[in-house]
């Protein structure tokens, strides 16, 4: 199921100079803001939770997910170099699964890790807030990577759609319409975070069992469908 060569190629494409800069910028921004907030306001649990929930989980994780998920396959399909993977006796689901693992790993490293660091800076993991949001970031990294990998496989405008989903649906629409919040990777991961932190600082609109089932279903379905799409991917010629 996992092909180390596909993984190596994907890592190197993803962590190429330009993309690595974008991937690194957001986490650095989060940590910088955390340092400033801690310096100005001191350690405060509510502030820590607001910042990690609003900036890290609602904005940074999905954006990193978009870059890693779509970037793991989109550019290869766009420029046609995917032909070198497709012209091999490799099962298409193997290619997708491998790229998913890479996208998950990259999203986790560039979003969950800085979330943990920011959490410790903000309030030293008081009330388990840093750990809770880190777990949420880890969990949502998986679902985002799967969703955006699928998007990268089926659409040439994956980054745009991904950002619209991440910013408009998750961040804006979700805060206005309660129904939208139920269908949000962010809320599902918050349900897991709530379980870790306990208390009322971290809350979710979705119950833990529902969230768990939805996370698994979305991840598995998106991955399966991406594999199917890749099996019948059409490489149009220059004509």
């Amino acid at each position: 199921m996992y092909d180390p060569t596909v993984a190596r190629l994907t890592y190197r494409a993803l962590l190429g100079r330009r993309r690595a800069l974008i991937l690194g910028a957001l986490p650095l921004l989060l940590i910088a803001i955390s340092v400033v907030v801690r310096g100005l306001a001191g350690a405060d649990d509510q502030t820590a939770s607001d910042l990690l929930g609003g900036l890290a989980l609602a904005t940074m994780v999905p954006i990193i997910g978009v870059i890693a998920g779509t970037g793991a396959i989109g550019p290869e399909i766009d420029d046609g170099s995917v032909v070198y993977l497709l012209s091999k006796p490799l099962k298409r689901p193997t290619i997708i699964f491998t790229k998913l693992i890479v996208a998950i790993a990259v999203t986790m490293v560039f979003s969950a890790l800085p979330t943990l660091v920011a959490g410790f800076i903000l309030n030293g993991n008081g009330q388990q807030i840093a750990v809770a949001y880190t777990v949420a970031a880890l969990v949502s990294s998986i679902a985002y990577a799967a969703l955006f990998l699928l998007l990268g496989t089926v659409s040439r405008h994956a980054v745009v759609f991904g950002l619209v989903y991440a910013l408009v649906w998750e961040a804006l629409f979700g805060s206005l319409v309660s129904g939208a919040r139920t269908l949000s990777v962010q809320q599902w991961s918050l349900a897991v975070a709530h379980k870790v932190a306990g208390g009322d600082l971290v809350t979710s609109d979705v119950s833990l069992p529902t969230a768990t089932v939805l996370l698994i279903v979305v991840t598995v379905l998106a991955t399966w469908y991406a594999g199917q799409k890749l099996r019948s991917l059409t490489l149009a010629g220059e004509e």
Partner: protein, 303 residues
């Protein structure tokens, strides 16, 4: 012995028919797929390589379906036309990766790099390669698993004459070894120099098939049209029409020229200056009016 069978294959994109009911069999040796730009060659090669589903008909390799059959790539090597190829890798890393994806190791990669004579630049990044070097590394990646069928889409595009000759030698060798090699080109001379067998595609249709000499003859024996201006058009017309190499002459008063249709190309080109000299007529303009490749091809379609 590897045989690629294209059986009543059509492919359309929306309302546009790119490939129209083509049937051909590609056997061992070098076959050239010839046609003008936009004729459907790439669409056809994409279907042969399993990257595009035929709308109707089937493409099979020794009886096995090509579309949605990953296992078939054990036998197929593909050199795509597009340039993109993991530019951040070195040539060696790229070919090794291709070998690994076939379940092979660095040894197979090294052998393929030696075959295309790219060892000297194998540790440079692909982004620094010239067009010809890229083409050769692509070739190495296609050869790494010793495939019995090699598909190349416009492999000579943008190559300088020396690189072109090297690649031709290589493909010739592949054909001599009994591999089935198919390459596409829109340049007749390229195909003529290399292919044992030619398939001509024009406007999505299969226009001709066979030995290149036969097709070359079809192409040169077609009626040629010329626009000729001289010091005495009517006298020249009268003298030319007496010879069987000319089938029709029109005096174009507006243009102030003769429009001549010649049926015997070789004879006519020898005749024209001789007749002019014998009659003391000065030739001012002699220009072929339908020498574009497209007109050559469309003649073939009609033939």
């Amino acid at each position: 012995m590897t045989t690629l069978n294209i059986d009543h294959v059509s492919r359309w994109f929306g309302n546009v028919v790119a490939v129209n009911d083509i049937t051909m069999t590609i056997g061992p040796g070098v076959t050239g797929l010839l046609g003008p730009n936009g004729a459907g060659k790439s669409t056809l090669i994409n279907m042969m390589g399993g990257f595009l589903a035929p709308s109707t008909g089937s493409v099979t390799l020794d009886g096995e379906q090509v579309w949605r059959n990953e296992a078939i790539y054990k036998h197929i090597g593909i050199v795509p036309e597009r340039e993109a190829m993991y530019d951040f890798l070195t040539g060696r890393e790229f070919v090794v990766a291709n070998a690994e994806l076939h379940g092979l190791g660095a040894k197979a990669a090294q052998k393929a790099l030696a075959t295309v004579e790219m060892e000297y630049a194998q540790d440079r990044k692909i982004s620094t390669y010239s067009k010809g070097m890229r083409q050769r590394v692509k070739m190495a990646s296609a050869l790494v698993h010793d495939p019995s069928l090699l598909l190349l889409d416009e492999p000579f595009n943008g190559m300088d004459p020396r690189q072109r000759m090297q690649l031709m030698d290589l493909l010739r060798r592949m054909g001599d070894e009994g591999r089935t090699v198919l390459f596409s080109s829109h340049i007749l001379e390229e195909v003529e120099q290399l292919a044992w067998h030619i398939e001509v595609v024009v406007a999505g249709r299969h226009a001709a098939s066979g030995d290149f000499r036969k097709i070359r003859r079809l192409m040169t024996d077609r009626p040629h049209r010329y626009l000729v201006r001289s010091s005495d058009d009517r006298a020249l017309a009268a003298a030319l029409i007496a010879d069987p190499s000319t089938s029709g002459i029109e005096v174009d008063l507006q243009e102030g020229a003769l429009r001549i249709q010649a049926v015997d190309f070789g004879r006519f080109t020898a005749l024209l200056p001789k007749v002019a000299r014998d009659h003391g007529i000065r030739l001012l303009t002699v220009s072929p009016s339908d020498e574009s490749l497209e007109s050559v091809f469309s003649y073939l379609v009609a033939a």
